[in-house]
């Protein structure tokens, strides 16, 4: 036996509360693997958001703080400034990061805060029951855009990665997806880079992960993967949006 793919050390044994097929679990696992591979499990402090991923602290076997909705980058800033030699990351959904917490993420990036953000974009509010998110696609049906997102009244979805990439303080920003194994492998590489940027003290890093919400999209898990690929990727192109230092 020369290879084993199993639960990473940085994950607890706890079963997740996510709906069947929700790709949060894949992203959790990748974060845990990156922590293990960098050997930083005992030096890492994570910040959980408000939203579906609020229970992240139940699944990752590391020190964690839970933050108020949208405030994770501020909380992470507080931790990192006190413990500059630890690895500090936030894990945030699109409502948390791109709506209520827009100010916090922009300014954390602008300061070049040496933290890493895992931004999970599934184009909808999951926890509260499928309302329109700042990243909901034009025409997308949600419980607060019943006729489909009308850009006349509800405006346009925000491309957070591109927006943050304009900031000098942002060192590494990448948008990835988890809709098939090949992309999962790429996503993991991006996460590894982002955490490495922080480990080397190079400034703000973020990986935007396009993710599914089968329950609130009203699709089977496998259909949700297809929907992500067909609908989301054209609006949110997968790319290493910024790699200022060519890490």
């Amino acid at each position: 036996m020369n290879a084993v793919f199993a639960r990473p050390r940085a994950m607890t044994e706890q079963k997740t509360h996510y709906c069947p097929g929700c790709t949060h679990g894949i992203i959790h696992r990748m974060v845990a693997e990156v922590i293990d591979e960098l050997g930083i499990r005992e030096d890492t402090v994570g910040v959980a958001p408000v939203g579906c991923a609020v229970f992240l602290y139940n699944y990752l076997d590391i020190d964690m703080q839970e933050s108020a909705h949208g405030r994770a980058p501020a909380v992470a800033t507080g931790i990192k400034r006190v413990l500059p030699d630890r690895i500090v990351f936030t894990y945030q959904g699109d409502g948390d990061l791109a709506s209520i917490g827009t100010a916090e993420i922009i300014h954390a990036a602008a300061r070049g805060e040496n933290i890493t953000t895992v931004f999970v974009n599934n184009a909808i509010y999951g926890m509260t029951g499928g309302q329109m998110a700042p990243t909901t696609l034009p025409g997308q049906f949600t419980s607060t855009s019943k006729a489909g997102r009308n850009t006349q009244s509800a405006g346009f979805p925000i491309r957070v990665s591109e927006m943050l990439a304009t900031l000098e303080g942002a060192t590494y920003i990448s948008r990835v997806s988890v809709h098939n194994p090949a992309h999962v492998i790429r996503a993991k590489k991006a996460l590894l880079k982002a955490f490495t940027v922080q480990k080397q003290g190079l400034g703000f890093s973020m990986v935007e992960v396009l993710s599914t919400c089968p329950t609130n999209w009203g699709l089977k898990p496998t259909e949700a993967l297809a929907w992500l690929e067909e609908k989301m990727i054209p609006y949110y192109p997968l790319d290493e949006v910024k790699n200022r230092l060519e890490v």
Partner: protein, 74 residues
């Protein structure tokens, strides 16, 4: 050099989402009729001798329900 592998499903973790079924290049995984204690139908594998241990199923499983071991056979 051929690769051979072994997949173990932690049935109590499985939510029957079928993402692994989708991912398996050899189409060895299928949804069984067995329900676990949470009430989800769980997956199983057939013709396991064909498994190469590629771990695509592991990569796509959101619930850490899959463990893959892989050997390289000279």
């Amino acid at each position: 050099m051929a690769k051979t592998g072994w997949v173990i499903f932690a049935e109590e973790q499985c939510k029957g989402c079928e993402l692994c079924i989708n991912a398996c290049p050899k189409k060895l995984i299928f949804l069984t009729e067995r329900l676990n204690q949470s009430g989800y139908p769980v997956v199983g594998a057939t013709e396991t001798d064909k498994c190469t241990g590629c771990a695509m199923c592991y990569l796509m499983c959101p619930d850490l329900a899959i463990k893959v071991e892989r050997w390289t056979v000279p």
